[in-house]
Symmetry: C2
DNA sequence: TGTCTCGGAATGAACGTTCATTCCGTTTTG
DNA sequence: CAAAACGGAATGAACGTTCATTCCGAGACA
């Protein structure tokens, strides 16, 4: 029993240390030896938990993805109006990144990296599927525009990454006010507009 | 004279080959020796044109950034209405990426990489400054919302990257129709809305 | 209880490979 | 022919991975 607990703890320790170092130095700036050193374990030990460096990255990628989705659905009320639910998901996500900038840097650094396997990519898709379903629901019920899924993702996720990352780069704090307005703009981008209504305004 | 021409040609050759390989294999999947081999030159020759591998990447990053901006301002008419100019810039940019997916992959793979120097980052800012000024103009004249610059960039650039990249990943063609609608949605995200006007509609 | 045995977890030095960079003989240029 | 450009073998540092060995804690035994 205790063995199992220790195993899990050590695996987590390795993952945490890897995240820390990778987000600072990137893939080829963080040798296994450094990860081992910072984790206070032997280099060989890492290979008891992960087949190789690549797998370590892939596992970490999936792990973080999972945490993000979990955070997004905190205080999410299935019964609330669509726009309200949109707001909760969006704000939760950007707040997760605000609180965990290392995760943002890691994810964005590795999203398009060639050593992230196709298996990881499809697993990643599976993890975010609740969000995709949320968008499909919005399209079907005409809460949001009838756009391809990827367009919608781009309109909604793009701003989150850029806002947090640019503020990080320039040592600025991402303010609640910024977030409030950005969320509204994102909603404007995707919310359903009857074209005829638009004409009437003019 | 010819020296200069040849110099430029070989430098370009190296940069082109590097882009080709890097976008496929990533930084640590493309050794200098491979770049040299594919370019049909000696490995040492590369060091006549670039101090080291890092500089090579940084120069390429800047170079591509420049090409993108150049493409954006093709057929741009300073005298046209704001929304029209927005459309031209946006469509030009996404079309550049559609035509040059390797550039997209390269830029996005290295945007947050630690070996892209702060010098490169600020130079990059300088290059895109016309676009930033365009946004500032829009804010001042109330064509677009009064949002922080980075929020605006996120709202506009995020979708471009994601749409092209996701379609690439899934071996789909990015259609003109998709682009047409995505541009409209982006505009909806940033266009100025008088709040009172919105109230009246309801 | 104290001692012995055993198995798997952990270790880190060693290995083989890879790779950026250098160096120098050769070729090209003007 | 002098000087610059070039090629690619040589170099040495760095790295991922392996593996013989040590360590440790849990039973077995008396």
């Amino acid at each position: 029993m205790e063995q199992v607990v220790k195993k899990i703890d050590k695996k987590t320790l390795i993952l945490d240390t890897t995240l820390e170092l990778l987000s600072e130095n990137g893939f080829h700036g963080t040798p296994i030896s450094l990860i081992a050193e910072n984790a206070g374990i032997g280099a060989g030990t890492i290979y008891r938990y992960f087949k190789n460096k690549e797998e370590l990255i892939n596992v970490l990628f999936i792990e973080i993805q999972r945490r993000i989705i979990k955070a997004m659905y905190c205080n999410y009320n299935e019964a609330a109006p669509y726009q309200e639910r949109f707001k909760v998901l969006w704000i939760n996500m950007i707040n997760y990144y605000r609180k965990h900038p290392k995760d943002l840097i890691f994810i964005e650094q590795h999203r398009y990296a060639p050593y992230v396997s196709t298996l990881t990519r499809s697993e990643s898709m599976r993890i975010i599927s609740p969000v995709l379903l949320f968008f499909l629901e919005g399209k079907k019920k005409r809460f949001i525009k009838h756009l391809p899924l990827y367009t919608i993702i781009g309109l909604i996720y793009g701003p989150i990454v850029t806002i947090v990352k640019l503020n990080l780069d320039h040592n600025r704090v991402t303010t609640d006010d910024q977030i409030f307005h950005a969320e509204q703009a994102c909603w404007d981008a995707v919310k359903y507009n009857d074209t005829k209504l638009e004409e009437n305004i003019k």
